[in-house]
């Protein structure tokens, strides 16, 4: 019977640990994305003071 309980613990433990890991990974990535968007937006807005410059979208 110990084998059975060990089996259940190991299998479900593995699955549970993986589940925790992917949730944590997703959260960490979402935060990183938010950071990138925030910095880029802030950076872009730094140039907003110059009206002429902002109307030019991208340089080839």
């Amino acid at each position: 019977m110990r084998y059975i309980v060990a089996g259940y613990v190991v299998i479900l433990g593995l699955l549970f640990l993986y589940a925790v890991q992917i949730v944590w990974r997703r959260r960490r990535l979402a935060r990183a994305v938010a950071r990138v968007v925030a910095t880029a937006t802030a950076t872009a807005h730094d140039g907003a003071g110059d009206a002429v410059a902002t109307s030019v979208g991208r340089h080839p």
């Binding site: 259940y8 589940a19 990183a32 994305v33 910095t39 880029a40 950076t43």
Partner: protein, 284 residues
Amino acid sequence: MSDLEPVTDRTHGSPVPAAADTGPTPPPARSARSRATERVIGVLALVGTVFTVWLGLWVTPPDRTQGDLVRLVYLHPGVAWVALYLAFGLAAVSSVLYLWPRTRSLFWDRLAAASVEVGVVFNVCTLVSGSIWGKPTWGVWWAWDARLTLTAVLLVLFLGYLALRRIPAEPEVRARRSAFVALFAVLDVPLVHFSVNWWNTLHQGATVLNPGLTLKIHGSMAWTLLLGFVSLTLAFVWMLLVRYRIGVLEDWLDANELDAALAERRSEGAGPGHTVPSEPVGVA
């Protein structure tokens, strides 16, 4: 590409507005409905698994021949089915769909990658649960039985797939490479199956793994078995959804992180009053 041509988000087909001065486009947000669905599936999977454990370990009676060992059968075929057929099968189909020009979309590639990663986890669970069952039953932790060997070969094949994906490359290049590897791995499965089966017609221990108790199965055992299958399948789906989202976010970061950092550097040097051109990149 002209300045004003809208960048098309190839995944979803919708044009991404050229954001000249509002920074990179964030990745598509998940709708409230998709988040709710994911939560529901997750909860159902969890509840189902807890019930399976309760039923499996306490409520159901021990088997006439196997005794308490039968309790592992509530989990083992379930994880095996998820890994071998559901996960790797889905990965193979997604890979084909990615390679097929008509349906080519990085969505399939990400789905395949997510499916393989989750499948590998379930594959490990399959081998471990089988091994734990095998020790008291056959006295050995491992046997070169057809099923075991095939499952182990599958694990190695798809670990190779994951290793290949780690190598940095353009998303499309990586997707094609991975798709080919997945395809070759799948083609090999029937071949290995035949060879290992022929190899092991000597010690036909394989039949022991079959739940032969389906014939004289006690009511509660059948239900527990079914519940185990369903719960594990739901768990797979939930994990797939989360892992897929991780793929989307990772790809977006790869595409945009450098640009954002560069933009930051440039703005530090330029000072106020200068526009920093930013190249919006949708998650393709």
